[in-house]
Subunit: 596 residues, 2 copies
């Protein structure tokens, strides 16, 4: 099992030299976020990720989480101690408002830090990731009393949070939720029903767990407008936060999963003994709408899991390739590590180049969320929100698909050893495989992108983004000899890709306007095409920044090579996607019979 | 866990209507191979695969093979009984010569049957697959005595066979083999050394196991010319085949693997007690050359594992998509199974279309092996051998990459349930992941293709194949209205792809002539491009055949839709590969520093 070294240089480069810290630090909310502070936090997080979380990744996979005979859920060895340290570092609240006890730092920085947690130990990092989702929901929709009672303890990490959406019959389609919430005289509700796939649905790392639960009130309408959101604490608490009696919610079983073994995925039963006490968040009937307000952050976080697992798999494969001797150096004829072989280099470059492109995309999207939250000017604020909304499904779907592909390549670089569990490469593939599924399958992301994000505003947000991309292309081309031929070649390649994206967009507007099924057929290749183009834009900006003299020469040279590989070997896939879109005809996938 | 239905209709269609049974049945060796016999054998194999092997697939995965405290290897429940039935059916010897006790049937038919074993239970099917490799080696190189003693019992399945090549320091590079064979006075050798990754290296299903072992004699030269091949039976046997004393070869441990849990992957130690008795096969120093004679069949078989797991994953995903209700039908607005969604249909069509294309390629390659073995005319024989040699790396690498991709898509179609082990979809991904690695990694296949199969004869064998492909394209275009617009569009798409393949080939000849590293850089995309083109040829022939009136209308309509999807959605990837090749510049991947 190789060590893990968080890619701090790349985070710094992207934040300072590509995205520009000043774009978010210039916001009044972040007036105290200096470059030094950012660097110090990145270093501190990297230290914690590498020294505390990473060493538990493999042992956690082997031990897994266990449901004991006494009904308690036992996390893997070292988990509780690591979690305690995580809370002591204040990491749970890094991007939460200072007014609620958080650090109040930009989401941009929080995202960089979160990638480190996910890369060092994805099964562990799921716990704070879910808590962060619950925090966001309560910040936006919780009452003052709910905020002071629950929120502060979640931001400190003292209590964790969960999201209880899925039921056996209600996966991608939450309108089918059946759990019931019956109002009681004291203003609380009696909740009953069964929820599945609840991440960290139970554990003993903290003395309480705050479940956020979707359920229907008895007279609620069918469908999504009948769904409300409830706080259901594992233990009831007094007004001052003292732990009281056990609530009527219990872990019935833990799933036996392909990966993330150390993350307890629970089946939770509510109300087996008369009803779990729940407290309504906001208004009745708005549960799903409230969930949607936190969706961007949650999908960004899952997308980052794809980036993170790619980085981890890359580092491990690179380490193996540098040390495993097999075959001879084609130049010298001598025994050599396998990294001398061009095909191994190609696999490693695919991994690195796509990882760095996806990282740039995720951090850029995170910065847009900061702008959307904190800009004063309403037009600029709306534009940032629209851009974040546009990009999030790309981050989620493209990065998590890459996570699987790159983890699989990592196995391949290891040869036979990659298939042996002790090596650890296979774990990354097993862990990575969930990310394209949860938090909205990648198919749903593609539908969200093509439907809500492109067709709904007649591609206006996309057009604004393309305008910015074209501006970068022109600037690069007009920059003269300063940036070199490679950068200008990259700009040309990107321009071709953007032209194709515009053509595909026109095709989609034409064909999908009134045809939902056609939209579904075209969604996936269209999302992939767009993700390649937008990350290509950020790779072009990276290339230009890396060519500047003040970047360390080793880092800069590697970054330029990585970008070049992206433009020459990966971006051309966008043309393939354009062909897929062009070739899709309505009839082709239209009829279930006799197709299947 | 869904049932498995072997795709007998597709085997029959490919054998009778696309490849043409008469091409191999016309060979004198197969004069008794009638269409009825072929169909009867396919039906019989399908019955055995579906009823005996398939139900053991999941339980075998859960139980795995175990090394007991007494040193014995215990296979999963039902394994021994299934193996006994397998032998009783005579299946081990299906393509072995009748003179040696086999059925003497074409490899084409044997390959179809083998795909069923692999699809129904890959972990089980590895045992006969390895025995078949050992059988082939002994047919080609064993002495009369060795053949009568060992071979007949292996062809009946009474004893199984293994291939002992890999050592910890000698994986892809077999020149590094260190196991030693010291000649003894009685003509036998004392073998010592350690072999790893030995598939079915030990088990109790048969009373003996025939290990074929690569080792060096004491005064052998370094490198591949010093390696010899030995028979090392688990139990020594008398001249009449009675089991004698235990030989000095022992299973030290079984690997803990990502997948194929029920296939015991052994570390075998030879000579811990003075030396395992081994018998030289053929001449000293020719061990590796002998191994190469069986490589085509072995690589074909592994390639078929990719096709097989794709088929199995497809059937399971289709079954789920037809029954899982989630969301609404875009047309009617009513609750509907997820198969109504265009994105789900796209995933299923990707799986089915690529699976059927890869199956066509593997069976066509198998038929070329029959021709190469049995044609009388030396020119035609050599041409068939050259074509088989050309195609085998495509079958192995492309199909096994597809196996991983398709098993991963199968998981995705299942959504959250795909990540739960009980569903069984994840097992296919875990099992599929080994096939791109063993029997020569896919990177090695690509090097074999570009170096030995294309550059070495200056692309002559490829040019002959392209001539045949162009002939089909012309015939299709000149066939008039008979075949319809879809078929003519497909022919046009294929022609574009073939032109690009020719251009890429010219680029490769120009750039790689004296540059081994450049060859390594271009090998993988070039193999993929070629595989898409050749399987596209077979899909075009399939489309034409399916359009004929005598194909059942349901099967024919589905086949045409599958082929259309291939030409519109999958074949265009070949242009992306061409771009990757065109864009590869020597410098890019040349230097290890500062690239990594």
């Amino acid at each position: 099992m190789s060590d893990f070294t968080p890619p701090v240089s790349d985070f710094r480069f992207l934040i300072h030299d590509v995205i520009g810290l000043e774009t978010v630090a210039g916001l009044p909310a972040f007036s105290e976020t200096s470059a030094d502070l950012v660097d110090a936090i990145l270093e501190e997080a990297a230290k914690f990720a590498a020294s505390v979380l990473a060493p538990l990744n493999r042992t956690g996979d082997q031990e897994g989480a266990k449901l004991l005979a006494n009904g308690k859920v036992q996390t893997a060895s070292g988990w509780t101690d690591a979690y305690t340290q995580f809370c002591e570092g204040g990491w749970q609240g890094i991007s939460a408002p200072e007014s609620e006890g958080g650090m109040g730092l930009p989401i941009l920085l929080g995202a960089a830090v979160a990638e480190m947690w996910q890369a060092s130990n994805m099964a562990f990092a799921l716990c704070p990731m879910l808590t962060a989702g619950a925090i966001e929901a309560l910040i936006a929709h919780g009452s003052d009393a709910q905020r002071s009672l629950y929120l502060s303890r979640m931001i400190s990490g003292e209590w964790t949070g969960t999201m209880n959406l899925t039921e056996p019959q209600a996966g991608s389609d939450l309108s089918k939720v059946r759990s019931i919430a019956v109002p009681k005289d004291d203003g609380s509700y009696a909740i009953s029903g069964q929820k599945i796939f609840i991440t960290y649905g139970d554990h003993e790392m903290t003395e309480n767990i705050v479940h956020l639960v979707l359920a229907r009130t008895p007279d609620a309408p069918a469908g999504i407008k009948g769904i409300s959101l409830f706080i259901v604490p594992k233990f009831l608490v007094s007004e001052t936060g003292e732990i009281g009696t056990r609530n009527d919610v219990h872990c019935v079983s833990l799933e036996h999963k392909l990966g993330i073994h150390a993350s307890p995925t629970a089946v939770l039963s509510f109300g087996d003994n008369g009803g779990a006490t729940g407290y309504l968040v906001g208004e009745e009937g708005k549960g799903l709408a409230y969930m949607f307000t936190m969706m961007n952050n949650a999908r960004l976080a899952v997308g980052q899991q794809g980036v993170a697992i790619s980085e981890r798999a890359y580092q491990q494969a690179l380490d193996y390739a540098l040390t495993r001797k097999q075959g001879r150096d084609p130049k010298t004829g001598e025994d050599a590590p396998i990294i001398v072989h061009g095909d191994v280099q190609r696999m490693l470059m695919r991994m690195r180049s796509s990882t760095e492109a996806a990282r740039a995309l995720s951090l850029y999207a995170a910065a847009q969320l900061d702008l959307a939250h904190h800009l004063d000017d309403p037009t600029a604020k709306a534009a940032a929100q629209a851009r974040a909304d546009l990009l999030i499904p790309l981050v989620k779907a493209w990065s998590t698909d890459l996570g699987v592909d790159n983890a699989s390549l990592g196995v391949q670089v290891h040869g036979g050893m990659g298939f042996i569990e002790e090596t650890g490469a296979a774990q990354h593939l097993r862990d990575a495989r969930i990310a394209p599924i949860y938090e909205g399958t990648n198919g749903i992301q593609a539908l969200d992108f093509i439907g809500r994000k492109v067709l709904r505003d007649n591609a206006a947000a996309l057009a604004a983004l393309i305008t910015d991309i074209r501006k970068t292309i022109s600037e690069t081309r007009n920059s003269g000899s300063e940036s070199g031929n490679d950068v200008r070649d990259a700009a040309t390649a990107l321009e071709h890709a953007i032209k194709a994206l515009e053509l595909s967009t026109a095709t989609i507007i034409e064909r999908c306007g009134t045809d939902d099924r056609m939209m579904q057929v075209l969604a996936t290749p269209y999302l992939r095409q767009a993700a390649l183009c937008v990350s290509g834009w950020l790779m072009l900006r990276s290339m230009t920044a890396a060519a500047k003299a003040d970047i360390s020469s080793d880092f800069g040279a590697r970054k330029i090579a990585t970008c070049r590989f992206f433009f020459e070997q990966l971006l051309p896939e966008a043309a393939f996607m354009a062909t897929q879109i062009e070739n899709s005809r309505r009839a082709e996938l239209h009829e279930t019979q006799p197709l299947f």
